[in-house]
């Protein structure tokens, strides 16, 4: 997004334009690089099966990360998505007995509400987003446990129901969730780049005061992003439940960190005011690839797995930053 990434000077030449291009797509470059290496190193990496796996595995995180990107661009953060994701799954599985629509609407309603509450608290009472959504994290998890009797009962999705197919069906090898994820990203991109609301996200994230002095409805914008984040986390949870055909109670722990990592790897600034969805998508896929590669190596014991993925993370982010280097004049 030209309008979100600092270019070297006011009147850049061709080389700058090229540099800026790489900058914008630093994450993509790293992704392609990584994938290429992996394909070379592991015969079974490049296979169609494996591609399908990575795609479907990443699609849920992708949907959550989309919401997170909106929140972070607007200068906030949302720690509650992990719990909300789990809650959405449980609710969806619970409602799936009444058919597809309830199975989607119930989680969206509840999770959207949680998001809205987060948003109102952040926007109206000047409490730090970190704390508000941390409370959201606890609250949603608590609610989940309450619904499931301290997690002792797991709701099941009726076999072969339309809802189940939504999560398990495939089209030319890729699961439906993959297409849904792509769809919401396309939509999100449009909103972010081509609507006033989208643009004002960048403004609010860039400088809240400037935004309000320019007469933008700051509070409303904030509430909207948290609402969106809640909705998307809920949607992802529901789809996941459909795929697992049950409302698993132990899901989503630490998901918020994955989402944040994906967003930031994608080149979005945590202080807000700049970011791209394409970057986030690359970030998500990068995490997926890292995970997959670790499994390709096989026979790594869990401790080494963490070490390796930590190391990968550093490498990726450092590479991304150096590619995305932007020198500031002022």
């Amino acid at each position: 997004m030209a309008d979100t990434h600092p270019a070297p000077t006011a009147t850049p030449g061709r080389t700058e334009r090229a540099a800026a291009l790489v900058q914008r797509h630093g994450a993509l470059a790293v992704l392609l690089l990584g994938a290429a290496v992996a394909t070379g190193a592991f015969p079974s990496f490049g296979t169609l099966d494996n591609t399908h796996n990575i795609a479907i595995q990443s699609s849920f995180l992708a949907i959550v990360a989309l919401g997170m990107t909106f929140v972070i661009i607007s200068g906030g953060i949302d720690l509650s998505v992990g719990s909300v994701f789990a809650l959405g799954g449980v609710l969806a599985a619970y409602a799936s007995r009444w058919g597809l629509l309830p199975a989607l609407l119930l989680p969206l309603a509840v999770c959207g509400l949680i998001g809205a509450v987060n948003g109102v608290l952040v926007a109206r009472t000047r409490m730090p987003a970190f704390i508000v959504t941390l409370a959201g994290l606890l609250g949603a998890r608590g609610l989940l446990l309450a619904i499931t009797h301290e997690g002792s009962d797991t709701f099941l999705v009726p076999k072969g129901s339309a809802f189940a197919t939504l999560g398990q069906g495939t089209l030319v090898g890729f699961g439906y969730p993959v297409y849904i994820a792509l769809a919401v990203f396309g939509l999100g991109g449009l909103v972010l780049r081509r609507t006033r609301t989208g643009q004002s996200l960048f403004a609010v994230g860039g400088s809240e005061d400037a935004a309000s002095l320019m007469g933008l409805p700051v509070a409303r914008i904030k509430i909207t992003v948290y609402l969106l984040s809640g909705l998307l986390a809920g949607l992802a949870g529901a789809l996941n439940a459909a795929r697992l055909s049950s409302g698993v109670t132990i899901l989503g722990v630490g998901l918020e960190l994955d989402a944040i990592a994906a967003v930031v790897i994608g080149g979005t600034l945590l202080v807000g005011g700049a970011g791209t969805l394409s970057g986030t998508l690359c970030g998500v896929l990068l995490l997926g690839v890292i995970q997959n590669v670790i499994n390709q190596i096989g026979s790594l014991n869990s401790s080494y797995q963490s070490v390796v993925s930590g190391a990968f993370l550093i490498v990726v982010v450092v590479a991304q930053t150096y590619l995305g280097r932007t020198q500031r004049i002022r």
Binding site: G75, P128, G142, D209, N301, S302, S309, G310
Partner: protein, 325 residues
């Protein structure tokens, strides 16, 4: 984060009640703690006993220590997610060197903290990564490393000197509590009274300006993260001593959240440019009391978590900066 823009800009409207608002964040926590103490005194059996209060202090000590380091990092507009893993790392190295005696082992553990802190600092200050990802890497890798060192095993410890730190009293006060208190005082002084402390806060307040004013931005940042690492390592040592065992798999899980919460509940803005030490200590105490209360009244996990959420919100709400005009 969002409130950054708001709290650190000249244009931000400021109220007549400004001066109150400026101190109120501190008081917010104190009020909450007082309220909670009162509640427990009334409705919890055996709460106001020496033994119980000791327990609370002992349990909160490691959190306080980590939170102090975290407060410094947050003061620079950063955050350190790796503290929990550092605790695990410290716990993991301890037994490896206990053969040389407690002191060397502890020294090595602290060095581990320095190492992690240095890496974080370098990634943030030199490479220029955003703190949250920079430290996320070691949050993931650090614990893994700890488990590698201990090959996943929990080790029973028998070294008397080490265990003593966890269990002994000095003039009637548990050693761990004394250590935490001493550190709190020390950090308080550093922040208020030393060039390092002031420069730290300045950098958190406006990094560009600090750079132009010739402040050693990189050095200060590195030192801050190193300090945070050391504190976390120390907390890991104390927790291990208390546990009589080195348990790298579980030790310090979710510590980063507890620490950050303590700091923020204590009235330090995540936007940096300010460090409130006493508030941090009290913030940690508040969260400890909350947890204790919920356990003592044997609430099921579901209710407990929701209650915790509400209490955090209320505490921070009273403590928040009023943006009234």
């Amino acid at each position: 984060m969002t409130d950054l823009a708001a709290t650190t800009s000249t244009a931000a409207p400021v109220a007549d009640r400004r001066h109150i608002a400026r101190y109120l964040p501190g008081y917010g926590v104190y009020a909450a703690v007082a309220a909670l103490l009162a509640f427990n005194a009334a409705f919890t059996d055996h709460f106001l006993t020496v033994g119980n209060l000791r327990t609370q202090l002992i349990q909160v000590a490691p959190v306080v220590i980590v939170a102090l380091g975290m407060a410094l990092v947050i003061g620079t507009e950063g955050v350190d997610l790796s503290v929990g893993s550092v605790m695990a790392l410290a716990a993991a190295v301890l037994p490896l060197y206990l053969g040389y005696g407690a002191v060397p082992a502890i020294a090595v553990a602290l060095v581990a903290g320095v190492a992690v802190g240095a890496v974080n600092g370098a990634l943030v200050a030199v490479v220029g990564l955003q703190p949250i990802v920079a430290t996320l890497a070691l949050f993931v890798g650090g614990r893994g490393l700890a488990l590698v060192l201990a090959d996943g095993q929990l080790k029973q410890l028998h070294n008397a000197a080490l265990l003593a730190i966890g269990s002994d009293d000095v003039l009637g006060v548990p050693a761990v509590v004394l250590i935490a208190a001493a550190l709190a005082v020390a950090v308080g002084f550093v922040v208020r009274g030393t060039t390092f402390g002031r420069q730290l806060v300045a950098i958190g307040g406006n990094r560009v300006a600090s750079q132009l004013a010739g402040l050693p931005v990189r050095r200060v940042l590195c030192c801050t993260y190193i300090a945070c690492g050391v504190f976390a390592a120390l907390a890991g040592v104390l927790a291990t001593a208390r546990l009589n065992a080195s348990d790298p798999s579980a030790l310090g899980n979710l510590m980063e959240l507890s620490a950050i919460t303590a700091v923020v509940v204590g009235g330090t803005p995540l936007s940096g440019g300010r460090v409130r030490v006493l508030g941090t200590v009290v913030g940690a105490l508040l969260m400890q009391l909350v947890r204790a209360t919920l356990i003592k009244h044997d609430l099921p996990d579901s209710t407990a978590q929701m209650a915790q959420a509400v209490i955090i919100l209320v505490a921070v709400y009273v403590a928040r900066e009023r943006k009234s005009r």
